[in-house]
């Protein structure tokens, strides 16, 4: 079975531009989470979506937004890019997650998108 996939793998943008990152979860997984990992640090939680609804949000500015589609894939959008947005953006999927109370909350991470803002 295919794991979590993310696109693109690498991306170079300039300050002020907009970027869209994409994630396809493992088949059957309904929950998708996004993380930002700056080099040398732990991942920072950005969003979690379950059944197309936002279920969690980290401490990120409104320039960051996301959505989940009917096929459970997800997009992360970042507007007005800053140099500090340069990082590895990770997507993780889980089943069923989303507050169902079932203890199968293992998150499976994708390979990430490396974003460089110049």
């Amino acid at each position: 079975d295919a794991g979590v996939t993310q696109s693109p793998t690498h991306l170079i943008k300039t300050r002020g531009q907009h970027v869209t990152l994409r994630c396809s979860p493992i088949s059957g997984h309904k929950s998708v989470s996004w993380y930002q990992q700056v080099l040398g640090q732990g991942p920072q939680f950005i969003f979690q979506y379950y059944e197309k609804e936002e279920r969690g949000r980290g401490n990120f500015p409104d320039r960051f937004s996301a959505r989940q589609f009917p096929n459970y894939s997800s997009e992360l959008n970042v507007n007005a890019l800053l140099l500090g947005d340069s990082a590895l953006y990770l997507c993780a999927s889980s089943f069923p997650g989303g507050g169902t109370g079932v203890d199968t909350d293992t998150q499976y991470f994708g390979p990430g998108t490396r974003l460089t803002v110049l």
Binding site: S33, G42, D105, T106
Partner: protein, 114 residues
């Protein structure tokens, strides 16, 4: 403030030795996760601990959770070079309404020397 602290931050150990990584968190949670990350790679889930007193073991790694002390440990037994990686704990500080907020620890960079 929601904080998850790991110690040590760096750990260099000889093959065959035992050691423990500690993960302390600042607020109530009964869901704690351990991950491994190799350089330049993504995260690999190691353990999911969902209740007080939970203990899980896989190979040379054993994780435990004490929700009253807000402490989790990752114990390494008879370390081998292949265990060299960065290890993260993460806590789900979600609310009873079902919203989720995951806080990752600072990470422990482990190097096992031959």
């Amino acid at each position: 403030e929601l904080k998850v602290e790991q110690n040590p931050l760096f750990l260099s150990m000889q093959e065959g030795k035992n050691y423990t990584i500690y993960c302390n968190y600042s607020t109530t949670s009964d869901r704690l996760y351990w991950y491994r990350q190799d350089p330049g790679k993504s995260l690999e889930s190691l353990f999911v601990l969902l209740s007080n007193g939970a203990v899980k073991q896989e190979g040379r790694l054993m994780a435990s959770l004490d929700t009253k002390a807000r402490l989790s440990t990752l114990h390494i037994t008879a370390a081998v070079h292949d265990l060299s990686a960065t290890y993260f704990c993460a806590v789900d500080m979600g609310s009873p309404s079902g919203t989720y907020k995951y806080i990752f620890g600072t990470g422990t960079r482990l190097k096992v020397l031959a």
